[in-house]
Symmetry: C3
Subunit: 508 residues, 3 copies
């Protein structure tokens, strides 16, 4: 807060909005796997229908922030939206289940606070357990707490549903399905009514049509599977739990994997698997109502990511690791990234230290074209996005080896150009060529004169210092050129390669 530097200044409306978004809006939206504060605002309006729940939600999110501030002494990361959402859901579940119990007010407060603390506790545990995996701890803490509460209060769910006047959801024919769909969508916020469901559907659709489509597919297939099980003689009272099918299709088909045709097939499969899990859980756990918590979704999500996130399987299925973005945006970014610096070939480390930008990528103007299209030019990133001049210079910065290999050829005696001038006589300036273990040749070019510190036949590793960035050869500004070649001669036709440690960041 810049406000704290002057004493008498009130926070600006913008600051208040930003804090509200972080503390109250995004956590609510992240229940739908959405990162938008606007969607969160829409959900708050829905939540106000049930004023008691809204009060509980507000208090819960406030308490989480207080705990976060208490624990954040030092430079410790505070809670993210998912952690907040889990604590919120735990408090709401406690409030919901306590509805018909007529406990003293103070005891209710203690129990809700306890549920919130236990929710945070389980969040810490799952964050730790899933630390080195690619699995999100999404809904698991809430799920465990819900399971515990369902065991302690075996009829809590049905009592509460009656107490809050929840409608009975029946499926007699296909004509009932739209109504069931909207009611179960309302169930996300403990309000299984047509209007709530419609609003939530619109919110999701406006945020991301891909997510809505994948969710719909998951729901339809899940509903059909459940109706098939009913035909087989089972009786899983599935409709209220069916928002799980929507969540499963949406999560696997569009959120955790990039959306696309393949994603729609996966959404359908996710809906089927989720319906099976729900049926098994319904029969196993009996009338406890535990299935109406998002446990089938949690099982489908975890098992789906484990089964599908496998590079040797389903080529072309791509994880979306920054899943709070709109899936459509993530898809575009991924497509652009692959066009810019490849997804196959030799895996090279970035040979520079600190942040770098690829200022000229694969198959791009002016010079990475034709047989030389698989080449990258590195510079420092812009200091501020949009400010074209704001690049710190790389001149003199150390270059480390991008691979394990043997030095094949070096040149070290080309003078560096003054900024803005290029030396068209010596295209590559000072350069070196490495031969990697895979038999490819890596050309690094435009080194500073006299800086190359390795010699032919020398073996280099990722920590080997090769030389310093310069501005020699056909270069008007200090940068490092890297390409992978089929042959050892500088300028031989290039081959695609990948970068091991490049992360995109905004703007470029």
């Amino acid at each position: 807060m810049e406000a704290s530097s002057t004493e008498n200044q009130f926070p600006t409306p913008r600051q208040i909005m930003s804090v509200a978004a972080k503390l109250y809006l995004r956590p609510l939206a992240s229940i739908l796997l959405i990162g938008s504060a606007w969607v969160g605002a829409g959900m708050w309006i829905l939540l106000l229908q049930e004023p008691l729940m809204a009060v509980v939600a507000f208090l819960a999110l406030s308490i989480v922030e207080i705990i976060s501030q208490i624990m954040a002494r030092g430079d410790v990361a505070t809670f993210g939206p998912l952690t907040r959402a889990n604590a919120l859901l735990c408090s709401l579940a406690a409030a919901f289940l306590m509805g018909p119990m007529n406990l003293p007010f103070l005891l209710q407060v203690v129990i809700m606070f306890g549920a919130l603390c236990v929710g945070l506790y389980f969040t810490l545990i799952f964050r730790r357990l899933l630390r080195n995996t690619s699995l999100p701890p999404i809904i698991l803490p809430y799920t465990v707490l819900a399971a515990m509460m369902a065991i302690l209060l075996p009829h809590g769910m049905s009592n509460s549903a009656q107490y809050f006047g929840w409608p009975v959801v029946e499926v007699v024919s296909f004509i009932d399905l739209p109504g069931v769909f909207l009611k179960t969508m309302g169930g996300f916020l403990y309000s299984p009514w047509l209007l709530s469901g419609a609003v939530i559907s619109v919110l999701i659709f406006v945020w991301s049509p891909a997510m809505f489509l994948a969710g719909m597919i998951g729901w339809i297939v899940g509903a059909l599977t459940s109706m098939g099980l009913v035909t087989s003689g089972l009786d899983p009272y599935w409709p209220p739990a069916s928002y799980n099918f929507f969540l499963s299709g949406m999560a696997l088909g569009a959120v955790f994997f990039l959306p696309g045709l393949r994603g729609m097939v996966i959404a359908a499969f996710a809906g089927m698997i989720c319906a099976l899990f729900a049926a098994v859980l319904r029969v196993y756990a009996g009338p406890s109502g535990i299935v109406y918590f998002p446990i089938p979704f949690g099982l489908t999500l975890i098992s789906g990511i484990l089964a599908l996130d496998n590079p040797a399987f389903a080529p072309g299925l791509r994880r979306n690791l920054d899943w709070f973005e709109r899936p459509e945006d993530a898809w575009i970014k991924d497509a652009w990234t692959r066009r810019r610096w490849g997804e196959q070939g030799e895996l090279l480390a970035i040979p520079l230290v600190g942040p770098v930008a690829v200022v000229q990528g694969f198959d791009s103007k002016p010079s990475h074209r034709g047989a030389w299209k698989h080449a990258l030019d590195f510079q420092r990133p812009l200091v501020a996005p949009g400010e074209r001049r704001g690049r710190p210079s790389l001149f003199g910065e150390p270059v480390y080896s991008p691979a394990i290999g043997e030095v094949v050829e070096t040149r070290n005696n080309v003078a560096d150009n003054p900024p803005g001038k290029a030396n068209y006589g010596d295209n590559w300036g000072n350069y070196l060529v490495l031969r990697t273990g895979a038999g490819n040749h890596v050309l690094l070019a435009h080194f500073m004169q006299g800086s190359i510190a390795v010699a032919p036949r020398q073996w280099v590793d990722y920590t080997t210092y090769l030389g310093a960035v310069g501005n020699s050869g056909r270069s008007t500004v200090s940068h490092l050129h890297m390409q992978v070649q089929a042959g050892s001669e500088p300028g031989a036709p290039t081959k695609p390669f990948r970068l091991a440690n490049y992360h995109t960041f905004g703007g470029e």
Copy 2:
């Protein structure tokens, strides 16, 4: 398929057999942890007794292959026999449980197809979960699906057993045991009759007497344990589940660990543990019949490998990682391997790149004898097994350091011999001696003249280039000689060592 190069050619009988073995025979045999297509053929004949099951099995394995082909675009690995066996078992279980349900035919087909897909899905999950462990995903996917079906259809197993006319299995006295044994062995293929069991027993015995013996021991101890539990007042109706005891003893006593006396003790223990698991599961899961699926075997296998695969425990107990081989063959190979290049001492990396063969191992003729017996000579492997002349030359190939250490001594000026001639004056030719962190000395010998690229006092790591393979000294063909010595003088008495990254391959 070479056939595809000419258009009008039909597949040869040999090609048909090979495809049949892969698609239909081996998957069935691998239910018994056997890699032989012949055993699979025998089991198919048994399966034909129950024509419906045979049809289901044939369709299931065909569909798996179709899915495998669809998913195999690019260079993706297709399903192995275990994955196919799991999908097969899932389909058979679905068919078995649906027997008495009188569902419409189309629904039956859909359910069997769904069971197959879910089986493949769980196989993917378990392959991922167990990826970095030494545990096989053997029977777990099938087990999870079976558990789900047992929950959905709590009386499915007993209804189906009645429907298919399965005999009641009673144990009144020890005299009943042989009959129980044969019937439960038939249970492997959903046909618990004396003849089926006898045929399966013979198939296993002919493939590997060690497996049969370990299985028998496991079964006997498991049966005695179960009878003891009955005497204690419990009533686990154990006989139909007792093929689990056989599988457990066989798997832990002979398949996943190399067979031997120790293996027989382990087989007995495995039988006891499996009987306990079966009894607990029987009491816990009540009359659901889930215990008659191979869940007790799965628990015993996983827990047994976790408990026993511990280098600090049970010295001499050796894992068999290539467990589709006959255990007897694996045992012989292991014994030969240990004699050839040791199992103790300094752990060295192979200092060469690409495939290599140990052409003269520990304690072997003509020169690795007596005090110099712990030495290895590396060459390239034969191009084709049996073709003695077909070794590509190593001459000039780079040698990297086999250890982290310091160079102690080098010699670089001995001329390389013409092929077939040896220089008896300079025994080691061009060589170098490293001192490792553990204080041992490694001698590498017969380098190419002038190729040694390191100098005394220099520290080397696994990626350090040391020189090139040559034919100097007492050597008639280019090869690399490596030994670990007690002292630094070339030719000091040798000590045993191990190779970190050597894998045997056929023929040598």
Copy 3:
């Protein structure tokens, strides 16, 4: 045993005591997470009240030792006290549950032996599963066996409690709590009587007041939580299980984390969580009595360590990895360690091989003071504690790089001093300065003349040989001086740093 060298010598009383402590006393004490043989002796006296249990315990621990000796061929580690305690508890549980069953004596012996073997088996499994985690396998093997027995004998616990005449424990008002507390403390040893509980309480208090305090806090909060649940209408018959609350508070508040004010807060939270787990388990598992085994404690311990052992969370909460020590001693050692060589800043490897001692630490006399306080002097440790002269010399020993970085400056031409003399003209003697990736400078000083093997601009890694330890500059005995500086000039003001691989050992 030195006794074995002369033939006619009997073991001395001291030897007998030492064996008894290892085989019989410490395993019993480790049930209370205590490493003291004296506490174990006190518990044996208590155990003698119930002679049958004492006989079982004695036999069980003897058999464990026999198995340990059989399996210990070669240089294999034998069982530690926790493994023995688990096997002991398994046997005691079997004996307890078999009490009212009137089985033939031989069958009883077989069952107890089986329980012991299964206990050891599960210990091996959990040791393997938790191998690379920071979780102790404490009570889990016993817990799994207890759960299996509770399933097999659903009324075993209540029958046995009746059979052994256990008192019913009721809580009507707060006045009952002290009695409940003492009875449940007696439950540790299957003797829930006031006197047993009082003795156990005294034993814990005398060993470590911090442990007792944390346990009390856990118990009180757990009891209040349970009473709150009773008020909410649940009926977890919690008193007999409440030793779990004590164990949980003690384990998390004082044993596995260093005790302190923060530990007392954690103990309270642990008591609450444990009470919740116990209530859920009680309701879930019904009247099986499984909750009276330490399962709630196991769940609380594992989840608590997972949630709290997080460097990014709860700064200042410190694990106690050597948790068999008295917590107070561990706390003192930790505080002393941090004062001596820091807990923040650059993480460096010890640049020497073999055991080393820090003979002058941070902010210590005579020379690591003021701006130069963050410096360490390394020598070899004393050969025998207390023997001041007994340090082997480091002279000539190799020095490796403590970090990845670039050499900035070296000096190599200062003569080494004769022992006892110092060269005040060249303060640092032969030295080198590295610049690390984090931008700090590391000064290593007092090298042997002419030994420095690296040059400025050279990049070094942890395996790079830098030079040899000497006695040049202001040094009277061969040692290595290491400090981290804000600037590159030797003698620039120092910054705190940490050592990556230093382990304290006795005496220094």
